[in-house]
Symmetry: C2
Subunit: 319 residues, 2 copies
Amino acid sequence: VRIWVPYSEFVADVEALAPDIEVDVYKGDTVPASIGDVEFFVTPYAVTPEALVVTADMPRLRVMQTLSAGYEHALPYLPAGVTLCNARGVHDASTAELALALMLASLRRIPEFVRNQERHEWRGAQYPALADKHVLILGYGSIGAAIEQRLLPFEATVTRVARRPRPQDGVHGIAELPHLLSSADVVVLVMPLTAETKRLVDADFLARMKTGALLVNVARGGIVDTDALLDALEVGAVRAALDVTDPEPLPEDHPLWDAPGILISPHVGGNSSAFLPRAHRLVREQVARFVNGEPLANVVAGPGVVSSGTPRDVGAARE
Amino acid sequence: VRIWVPYSEFVADVEALAPDIEVDVYKGDTVPASIGDVEFFVTPYAVTPEALVVTADMPRLRVMQTLSAGYEHALPYLPAGVTLCNARGVHDASTAELALALMLASLRRIPEFVRNQERHEWRGAQYPALADKHVLILGYGSIGAAIEQRLLPFEATVTRVARRPRPQDGVHGIAELPHLLSSADVVVLVMPLTAETKRLVDADFLARMKTGALLVNVARGGIVDTDALLDALEVGAVRAALDVTDPEPLPEDHPLWDAPGILISPHVGGNSSAFLPRAHRLVREQVARFVNGEPLANVVAGPGVVSSGTPRDVGAARE
């Protein structure tokens, strides 16, 4: 069974799973000679989509496994009958952690202290704490739940909102947003970018936020209408801490860089030391399922059950 | 019963506790005319010690209540027979929160992003997460426990160290430090400054830390030997995030400002929006105990039980 992985750190562990497993490393550049034999392709994490054109030359491919939660970029390169799995869960710890880091840094004014440090200025005052704050988590999936878990010990309270209401889990639907927004001190965006969520944070949304409330975006830049946010920042209506922007990367001459009350990190939510061990664990588990003929986890397209050594069923639907 | 408080926000609530309570506000400057009647004196939070000389003119004083956990500054102004109470617990949420804010900001490189933002540079890379890190909490009292509570959901592990070992609580003694230090990715200082802890973090301590480990100080600057820390920072042996320094405030020309891998906040651990509601609650509870003749909480010097309307017992010892 030929497997491709993007990190040499994964090779030994994956080969140890069964005697007939052979692993090559493909980082998105040099194409290994085994391309005709690949059955299980763990795609490189952050590459241009072109790195995935190789799937056209993989007649024996059965599984594409992304290392990101998002998989829109992989769909155009998914051959018929091949199963696509995403990395749901792998980035929860890292992304939830960055959401808290951005929130705490912005509220407690760490950016101001960094700038004062550059000027050798010792200047403190009383700043907001996260304690006693009301946080609205917009997109209550696995990362949203991980953010909540980290928030509660800070003596903050949480309101859960998702696209569809789930009353049994205390999750409000997006339709309730207009009356929920006005009571939140912090609004965290962590939902996927879809037609429904595109520019959800527009002038009306921002106007409903409490004056001086903090908007944190660890999801996708396109969920926020950047021009509307700029207007709200300029008049001090809100503050913002963004790990993602629209456009992204933010061009050097973009006015968002210097907007008042903003903290920008360069899309590093999922990319931290927490990533590799969790990605490694997922790949090991998925390859083990594959060679043992067990159902794969995180199937997002293609057949749900697939196993090594049987031919691709081009007509199979997702189970 | 005449009470002095340092914030006008406290007045109405405290006066509502009993019909004969009268409250004046003393912020450390203008001395209210009621000085001869004060029985319960809530001292201003951050003032020069001279603001406390007023106790010499308070013949009816029974209780001095600080709003800080530290009370060394109040002892010289504590008349014989007067009970001194500190604000243990009031700053836990705020200080523990800042410890996490400093830790997360330093690990996830928020200071670097702030500097890149000033230069309009979008530049990410893989940085350390708090997840999977081993954190040593040095000073496992109420703030130490509050730090631990906030740390655990981040998938970090914690080792507890205090001046005296408390094996039943899993707390190691300071004598075990030499072998505990080498396994910690983050060391948080949160113990009081005493003769025993003064310059505890010296060249030997720093040399035992893991290369690149992070030292966080939310306790007192004097616990760290600043020159030794400077040397360790210069060679990249450790990183640091300090809310307190020695000397403090840090003079404009001090080399610590520009040391590599350092983040400095201007002693704002206890001073955040979390402070006032918790201080307010403590003052309300303590004055209620006082007028009802119940034992006071947080007695650190003087008689433990004291009540309004009885004369000072100058010979009384702390219970």
